[in-house]
Point group: C2
Chain length 217, copies 2
């Protein structure tokens, strides 16, 4: 298991800290608000009330023992940036930072942090895709406009074979796996007959997957 320090326990930082702790990691949460720290004190390995713009305070936390330090301070960009600069001066290598604006992102990029996270923007994109492709329950990007998508099979697909379903996108969209009730059927053959409620895992390029959309709704 690993050790993580989460600085700034807003909705993003708090959820992150609690989830990492739940997964069995050693987590220290740092925030300058007492009420916030009192709420997590029993769920994390350590919880400290501290103002992270103070380099001395950060030094005492011996953060170089941690696998990653996440700076999740939102509103106060200045505090976020000063904290990152202190962490760099303390030799911390793996710093992930939540960015609030494009400017914040650009400055963090020049500070050479390990990863920059934009929670609201990333969820804006995910939500747009959930609205635009309501039949796609989840997806993964492969790059080069290729995707793996998870499609619950609707009633009208019941009785169709995979060969029927994929006839117009033969060799461009592949059915990788079907999940039926709790069982997984990897590499199903093309005569596999779909039942309503099956979960289809398909892969292919965006234009070909888009051709299938009307058949999946």
């Amino acid at each position: 298991m690993a050790q993580y320090a989460i600085i700034g326990l807003g909705r993003f930082g708090m959820t992150l800290a609690l989830q990492l702790a739940k997964m069995g990691n050693d987590v220290i949460g740092v925030d300058n608000e007492r009420k916030v720290i009192e709420r997590v004190a029993n769920s994390l390995s350590h919880a400290m009330i501290a103002d992270v713009t103070d380099e001395g305070v950060l030094k005492e936390l011996s953060l170089d023992y941690y696998d990653a330090v996440v700076v999740a301070i939102g509103e106060d960009m200045q505090a976020s940036l000063i904290c990152v600069v202190h962490l760099k001066n303390l030799g911390i290598k793996n710093i992930w930072v939540k960015a609030t604006t494009e400017e914040h992102h650009l400055i963090l990029k020049s500070l050479d942090v390990s990863r920059i996270i934009h929670p609201e923007e990333e969820m804006g994109i995910r939500t747009a895709r959930a609205l635009h492709y309501p039949m796609v329950r989840e997806y993964m990007t492969l790059g080069d406009r290729q995707y793996v998508v998870e499609i619950p099979a609707v009633e009208k697909l019941s009785g169709s074979s995979l060969a029927d379903l994929l006839s117009e996108v033969k060799n461009q969209v592949f059915c990788l796996l079907i999940k039926r009730r709790e069982k997984l059927y990897p590499s199903p053959h093309e005569q596999f007959v779909i039942e309503c409620g099956d979960v289809l895992i398909l892969a292919g390029d965006r234009p070909s997957l888009t051709k299938l959309v009307p058949r999946l709704m």
Copy 2:
């Protein structure tokens, strides 16, 4: 293409509106701040300065023609809730709402909205998984503790066959697809020899996938 109304253009709402527009949909953005509306006016089909706590104002927007209305007002929970109540009274069926707190969520649930979104919390969970499983680039949940995961093959896997890699989880983890440079190899046979840089798409239950972790890092 579809029609969407996005109410509240903070980072989440703004990104959502712009992405939906970019995907070719008809999008109206509504916010009570002039500066916000001026920024999006050229990128959306319509952009309106309005206080959505005013039912008369909402009525004029004829929102029942839209496929979905998203309420993305963050800080002001009261405004968010009043707006949802007005939308319900206007007969709007598909209402998605960004929730800021647990309490907000509970109230929205009793108001029976179509979907409740927690951007910061969902990204907190995703980021925790990115930290805890650094070898997993993306993943999809299948339910029943089953997942599909995307794993870039590291140097040390080079020269191993799929049979070698999956030997200790035979019939519990499946390799569904390999992507090499820009080509997709669905249902690769077990003698397929992995090269560094390949992207492996694996599926299986969490305990079995977890057994593989040390070999993937």
